[in-house]
């Protein structure tokens, strides 16, 4: 299962404009992370995200949100619930083709969802 999830995240992280893909546990613990850019390039955003992520994940879980997203400079961060206990986070450049990315993320969420709930 772990290698299958890793492969799905690999596929998504290689999408043009995607900087990072992370699978979070609902309490904020990152389970998998795939970076597509040098760590120093996204370090300030990561630092900021660390302070926010638990609250965001809590909101997604308690408010039953389909997705949550916010923009940070030229970077967009999107959070999609995968299962009752996991959330997929994607950090992408604002120029990434948002509507196409949205579809590929949905497909990845469904695939991971099947793996973590089976």
């Amino acid at each position: 299962m772990l290698s299958a999830i890793s492969r799905i995240l690999d596929t998504l992280s290689m999408e043009e404009g995607v900087k990072m893909v992370v699978l979070y546990r609902i309490d904020g613990v990152p389970l998998f992370a795939k970076l597509n850019v040098p760590k120093r390039e996204i370090a300030p955003t990561l630092y900021w995200l660390e302070g926010q992520i638990k609250e965001m994940l809590y909101q997604i879980s308690t408010q039953n949100l389909d997705e949550a997203s916010f923009k940070f400079g030229r970077t967009v961060i999107m959070l999609y619930p995968v299962s009752r206990t996991t959330v997929l986070g994607i950090m992408a450049d604002e120029e990434a083709s948002a509507y196409k990315l949205d579809i590929d993320i949905k497909t990845s969420c469904r695939q991971i969802g099947k793996l973590v709930t089976s």
Binding site: M14, E15, E16, S97, I103, D104, K106, T107
Partner: protein, 450 residues
């Protein structure tokens, strides 16, 4: 037909090749037909994919192009590659002809195809995006023709300039979709249904749309997969059945779209000179302040980067004088004065309607195409790519609706398809742009059943 859909969501060639080769190991039949679809992420490696499939299937009849996305099994992807391999119980043959003059290309192609086939799947570039130099020439010619246009004192004088500009556009950039289907159907005996993939990428890039036929690049031309045997073509649009008077049609447009505004258009051939007295793109910018002026250099740079949005939620609705059908043309923010159309506009009223795109009925309307199924074999659905920006991840609902009627299928998200269906006797479609010829810039889907 025995079929196998082979796909990989990977954009890297090596990864995708490994996925594909793994799938091909267990192919339980000997295919005679291959439809190969690349996405924006794999298009750059088309030669390597060509070699890969040619190595495995040197003798199949193949046709391929670039698409926006695909639904295979339970998954929808806008990346990677998908191929349909089939052992068709009949005769299948791919023909193609290159050239710039639509009538000439269709006649040559039709003469080779003949009248013996039951269905044709045709691929051609509705708009071809050539190199920087051709665009520079286009912008110079646009200014030249527009100066002449403005200098005319009569509407007929203006229309004559637009007709000349239309000829220039047809010879260099546009294959008018209605003309392709008209000429191709005439040269193949008028009794063979044609499903058209009139390609125009959602994010335009130099060298696109891209078509490959029997492992050869077609460039500007038309390729056709001709099938003799059990096949069926259906066409469907998401709009209400068309009305019987101009006034009722106007009412239907007002009910179907948002912010509808009546305008007077000066047009001829495939060219539009003005909307309510000003150039079409300027009209768009005045109505929608979000659009800034786009410079020529910026336009070319975007095309070179593959970042030019070739879809727009705003456009014009034209009403056909005889059929009372409605053709929608998206208006793109671009550095041109005279605006080109994808079909000939001479048979449409000058009074038309500026409007915003909405799809009443949502995703459900798009899966209704599956209800037109007549056979129980394999289904190739050609779905309007405007559903991607309109519904985003909700397009899964379209797939769910299709799966309720179709057990074995491949759905392709591509430019809204077109069709020629002789003796058509179905719903009176909004999208019948000429007798038995169907197309719209959005809201229509096609189905090819094997």
């Amino acid at each position: 037909m025995k079929t196998k859909v082979v796909y990989s969501p990977m954009n890297e060639f090596k990864d995708a090749r490994d996925d594909i080769e793994r799938e091909l190991e267990s192919l339980p039949f000997n295919p005679n037909l291959l439809l190969l679809f690349l996405t924006a992420g794999t298009f750059k490696d088309w030669k390597r994919y060509n070699e890969l499939f040619q190595k495995h299937f040197p003798d199949v009849e193949m046709l391929g192009c670039v698409i926006e996305g695909y639904a295979a099994g339970d998954e929808i992807w806008t990346r990677g590659i998908v191929a349909l391999l089939g052992e068709f119980d009949g005769e299948v043959k791919v023909y193609f002809e290159r050239g710039n003059k639509v009538e000439e290309v269709c006649s040559r192609l039709g003469a080779r195809i003949g009248e013996k086939y039951d269905s044709i799947l045709a691929m051609f570039p509705a708009i071809y995006f050539p190199g920087r130099l051709d665009f520079a020439r286009l912008f110079i010619n646009d200014k030249r023709y527009y100066r002449r246009y403005k200098g005319q004192n009569t509407i007929e004088g203006k229309k004559e300039v637009l007709r000349e500009f239309s000829r220039y556009m047809e010879e260099h950039f546009i294959f008018p979709i209605d003309k392709v289907l008209k000429y191709l159907s005439e040269s193949t005996g008028r009794s063979t249904p044609i499903l058209g993939m009139n390609l125009m990428p959602m994010e335009a890039k130099i060298g696109t749309p891209f078509i490959v036929a029997n492992y050869k690049e077609v460039g500007r031309g038309i390729a056709a997969m001709c099938l003799k045997g059990k096949v069926n073509i259906s066409y469907h649009d998401v709009y209400p059945e068309r009305a019987t008077s101009f006034e009722e049609t106007v009412e239907m447009i007002e009910n179907s779209f948002s912010n509808v505004e009546e305008v007077e258009v000066v047009k001829a051939g495939i060219a539009i000179g003005e909307i309510s007295g000003i150039p079409p793109v300027q009209f768009l910018r005045e109505k929608k302040a979000a659009y800034d002026e786009m410079r020529e250099e910026e336009f070319i740079e975007r095309v070179e980067k593959g970042a030019l949005q070739a879809v727009s939620p705003y456009g014009l609705s034209f009403i056909h004088k005889n059929l009372l059908s409605v053709f929608f043309l998206g208006l793109l923010n671009s550095p041109v004065n005279i605006y080109p159309s994808l079909v000939e506009l001479d048979e449409f009223y000058e009074t038309s309607f500026f409007m915003g795109e909405t799809f009443k009925g949502g995703t459900k309307k798009f899966s209704e195409i599956a209800e037109l199924k007549k056979m129980n074999g394999f289904d190739l659905f050609l779905l309007d790519f405007n559903t991607i920006p309109a519904f985003r991840k909700e397009i899964y609902k379209i797939l769910d609706g299709i799966k309720a009627h179709s057990e074995r299928s491949l759905s392709i998200f591509t430019t809204t398809p077109s069709a020629y269906i002789p003796n058509y006797n179905g719903k009176r479609l909004f999208s019948e742009v000429d007798k038995n010829i169907f197309f719209n810039a959005s809201g229509a889907n096609g189905l090819l059943e094997f």
